[in-house]
Amino acid sequence: MISEKTQKKIESIASKLPQRAAAMLSALRLIQDEIGHVPPEEREWLAGKLGVSPAAVEAVLSFYTLFRREPEGKYTIWVCSTLPCALRGCELLMDHLRHALGIREGETSPDRRITLKRAECLGGCDRAPVVQVGEDYHDVLLDLSLGTAKVSFERVEALLEKLT
């Protein structure tokens, strides 16, 4: 179960809103930040806390892509693959990451360190192809110095090395 501190935080958010259920997204985020995902027990707890049915929590949890119903790796790498990133070589980047990590999209590395996921437009098209790790965006993973799209292996490796 989540810590008392997080429970209190959720209560405080819910009590300040016109309707308690409006704290849903914030609460799920807080639970996930603490546990890494949102387990069934916490979902039911939250349903009671916000005065909705457990099914209503499940409905929300399964709708938003940033929520996790199952544990994932310590870090999730989101590779943006929508048009502006696709035009600038995100598939090369995805290929490289798959190869470097030895996993497929949606999978978690055997050491539970990294989960690799495909994202739809991250709104970072100025940095395309962009990846998101945790809360942060990382750009310039391609070497554009030659005017061609080419994955900068060094930069990718440097990024992966930071994720320990």
Partner: protein
Amino acid sequence: MSEPILLANIGEPDSQTLEKYRSSGGYEGLRRAISDMSPADVVEEVKKSGLRGRGGAGFPTGVKWGFVPKDSSKPRYFICNADESEPGTFKDRLLMEQDPHAVLEGIIIGSYAIGAREAFLYIRGEFADSYRAMAAAIDEAKHASLLGMKILGSSYSLEIHLFRGAGAYICGEETGLMESIEGKRGHPRLKPPFPAAVGLFGCPTNINNVETVANVPLILRKGAPWYAEIGCERNTGPKLYCLSGHVKRPGVYEAPLGVRLHDLIYEHAGGMWRQGLKLKAVIPGGSSTPVLRADESDIDMDFDSVAKAGSLLGSAGVIVMDETACMVDSLLNILKFYAHESCGQCTPCREGCNWLVKIVRSIEDGKGKSADIDLVENVAGNIMGKTICPLGDAVAMPAQSFVRKFRHEFEEHVRLKGCPLKGAH
């Protein structure tokens, strides 16, 4: 290139701080609104400025504010839509990260204008920096009596709730966003009733895009006549354009409404990213807007001119494609996006988006028949205008325009049983 107005602070050190914002006239608009003007005066001023919503539809902001009933017994809410998610669009993120007080001041003025005591800022879940910057700005503003109880010593008080999305494009649709704030799936609502009458928590609600509200302090500070001078007729004010794709310098560029699209591509963004390659196509307003061929793309970038050219200014997310871009693959990419983001609520969008993906994928993979090309247009037609929310149109418009304007490429895929441009990067 003209002097930036909206982006004047951006790029300066500490641009996100209250001190810096105030040093260049920040919150003067709010002071004027609250001490010298009635809410109705503020609405009138914004009407006079000609400001049109920057979220996509281009609806006059002052008129929209005027729709919120004054005599409701229920609370009124002001929402700022910062769920920027349309592919090719990243201007609101820049504003929030680097000029959060401009956004905040706009929200406070707008809330005052419609008589809201509570405002909601709904920030896209992935935008952590935006969230942090806005949270810090709110704190600063509260301490400076610009927000909270009795703003600037007046009788007006406002509370702002900061919300973070959790990964759903559809929450950028205004009623989907309201559902999301209420703690539900982001299912767009049937209209009518419209949010001005029945919105958030069933109360009268006004909702504006980040860039829209960031324009408001300028209008209040410098006056509607000054503002209306910028841009062109019926399309006033400065505008942020997001250039992405095959340009040398992708980024957000400011220009008055009506700037030439080719100026944006070739001057602001430095032209094609790879020398010697020619422009093939441009999507002018985010991936949902109809694509333009290179030969029809040298247009004025304002709401009315882009519409006249057969597309939409939308969110001004300009996606540029050079000769190496496969139009079938590009359409497939766009369709996959909308299929992924369809909320699944109504039949045409839920079933149609993925059907389109399947047809276009089979063409791209060389398994398509020539009848499939017409089928794309036809299925898109069965979605267009028939869904609860505009996402249906957002998938149908690119599908129809790509096929109509680049039909030869689709036919070539069918004839060659594959993509002639595969691996052209």
